[in-house]
């Protein structure tokens, strides 16, 4: 991974969070170009614009945020539908409960703020006012994982998948890129009950070259075929896993790559097919290894009585060290090179007991 962000542009990158308009400079696509942010066209946060499009023909849509309208580009929605946009200030718990009240009158609210404050600070409002009541509230939880880099643990959300998938009647979906987010938003309009939509930084490198028309909540997407192992990834790690699979392919190792965008309800069939057909499963997520996608997959395999070479890859049980996002992905082996090396380790253990 190029280290362009470590000194020169890291501050720029983080400060851009609050303007929400500048492409991230550390995309794998920029690697080696030496041209930084101008090298590629990388989409900005699309939720505001996409919801504004949908709201043109759907009067139920309202959007809320908590003093982050520029960071998450809900300001793009506000510009086109000012009467249906509500900024509640720095009051995330209030925002979630307000959204629930709005939903009870027939609206479909989308409430956007940092994942750390939706899933952790407002967890109880999410459970009690949105999930328990089956209100069609959609939580747009952006800057999940450790994508806020050196802002540190207070701003990271490395527990949110574990928290949200433990809540009954709450659908949990992780968007891999802007085009998939567009599809998720489209499908969310008439999806029953509450939904937690886990988002990255809004400048996530492209996985889907166009909006996937066949996207279905709860149905995983097989992005690469391969017989040597399966990498099951979600959200921000899907791109890195595809790139890792490309590197592995060049070495003669053929990895199947599955985009498990929906963590709850989980696509069990795709998981069991991976175990049966490739014999090794690696889960990859920008989340603590405890309780997240890897745990969900492990539960599925164990309860099915499937013995398979298996590893959960994510952030180990620690509060991550300080650093710019790209440096953190590198440190925790969550960039393409890191995933590739973890996959190679796993393959090396194939056919042996994994006693580590």
């Amino acid at each position: 991974m190029a280290d362009v962000t470590r000194e020169g542009t890291a501050g720029q990158e983080i400060s851009d969070v609050f303007r929400g308009s500048t492409p991230r400079p550390d995309s794998p696509k920029d690697e080696g170009t030496g041209k930084g942010i101008e090298a590629k066209s990388i989409p900005a946060f699309v939720a505001g614009e996409a919801l504004a499009d949908l709201a043109d023909s759907d009067p139920r849509i309202v959007v809320l945020t908590a003093d982050l309208a520029h960071a998450n580009r809900t300001v793009d929605f506000a510009a086109r539908h000012p009467d249906r946009f509500f900024n509640v200030g720095v009051a995330e718990q209030n925002m979630v409960s307000i959204a629930a009240g709005m939903a009870s009158t027939g609206l479909v609210p989308y409430a956007a703020t940092f994942a750390a404050y939706l899933a952790l600070l407002a967890c109880e409002q999410l459970r009690t006012d949105c999930a328990y009541t089956a209100m069609p509230v959609r939580l747009l939880a952006h800057h999940s994982g450790m994508s806020l880099g050196y802002y540190g643990t207070s701003h990271h959300a490395l527990e949110d998948i574990a928290i949200t998938r433990a809540i009954a009647d709450l659908t949990v979906v992780c968007a891999a890129d802007a085009n998939q987010l567009r599809a998720i938003l489209q499908r969310s309009l008439d999806w029953p009950g509450a939904m937690y939509v886990r988002l990255g930084r809004g400048r996530d490198p492209e996985v889907y070259s166009e909006v996937p028309d066949d996207f279905q909540i709860g149905r995983a997407v097989r992005l690469r075929e391969g017989a040597d192992l399966t990498i099951i990834a979600t959200g921000s790690e899907v791109r890195a896993c595809l790139d890792a699979a490309d590197s592995l392919a060049a070495q003669g190792i053929h990895a199947r790559v599955v985009d498990m965008h929906t963590v709850d309800p989980l696509d069990r069939e795709e998981i069991l097919a991976a175990a049966d057909e490739t014999g090794a499963v690696l889960t990859v997520e920008e989340h603590n290894v405890s309780g997240g996608l890897g745990s969900a997959v492990a539960e599925t395999l164990a309860e099915a009585g499937v013995g398979v070479v298996f590893r959960r890859h994510g952030v180990p049980g620690e509060h991550v060290v300080l650093g710019p996002p790209a440096a953190l992905y590198n440190r925790y082996r969550l960039d393409a090179a890191g995933v590739q090396s973890v996959a190679r380790d796993l393959i090396g253990l194939e056919g042996k007991r994994h006693d580590v």
């Binding site: 200030g89 009240g101 009870s104 009158t105 027939g106 609210p109 006012d129």
Partner: protein, 295 residues
Amino acid sequence: MKHPPRGTPERGELIERLRDRAKFVRLETVRLTRIAGAGHYTSTFSAAELLAALYYAELRYRPDEPGWPDRDRFVLSKGHAAIGLYPLLADVGFFERTLLDDYTRLDSSFGDHPDMRKIAGIDFSSGSLGHGLSVSVGIALGARVQDRSFRVYCMMGDGELAEGQIWEAAMAASQFQLGSLVGIVDRNHLSIDGNTESLMSIEPLAERFASFGWKVYAVDGHDLDAILDVFNTLETATVGPPQLVIADTVKGRGVRRMEGDIQWHVGNLVGADYDDVIAEIESGLQPLVAGGADG
């Protein structure tokens, strides 16, 4: 003026009816508590007149059409008083009163806190204190976005005002000028562990809400005439300051042994005590014993 003025025969009849229905709330609370084995008598008794005035005079609703989009909404933020609300909902026709005979039993729809997915007439589930005012802000915004004229009434306990989210909601209601939002504080002075003023003071309550931009009214929460007068006084403009009615009440009002006594926040009457309390409630509200009510 929504309700008949004082001194008219219509007003006299209405007050008589409300008094009887407040009594009904207390009697049913005692009956249902016995089914459950324990219940929130006193938090319900303090709200009995308010609940009766809301459901038999103030709120617009259609029992045969619980989802009527233009109905007024009632959010019982102090959800533990649901035991007093269920009998009213049954009485006005949302469901059969016999359904309450299984109150709190396995698979019953009716628990200590109300569930909107299971009970017709419950506009929003509650139980976790401090949420209801935010939910009510959302409901009022929902009315505005959809150009509907209904009001939302939110009844809060005074103890729950220690929840920070209440004040987030108070700010938002004022910021958005939600004139159709009416907060009601059942100011019974006691939370579980004692008097609110010695535990975690909420005074000066009227000044606090006023400083947040609310229009504030004070009323004796057991005086039905005064309650109707306040309801008549509420502003009807949907865009304007949110409105708060601080109802001064006595926790446990109507049963002397419980009035102002924190021991009865959750309790269960058995044997002769049960019959004594039923008889006492049947006889109607008696003057308060001096010093009996805390605060």
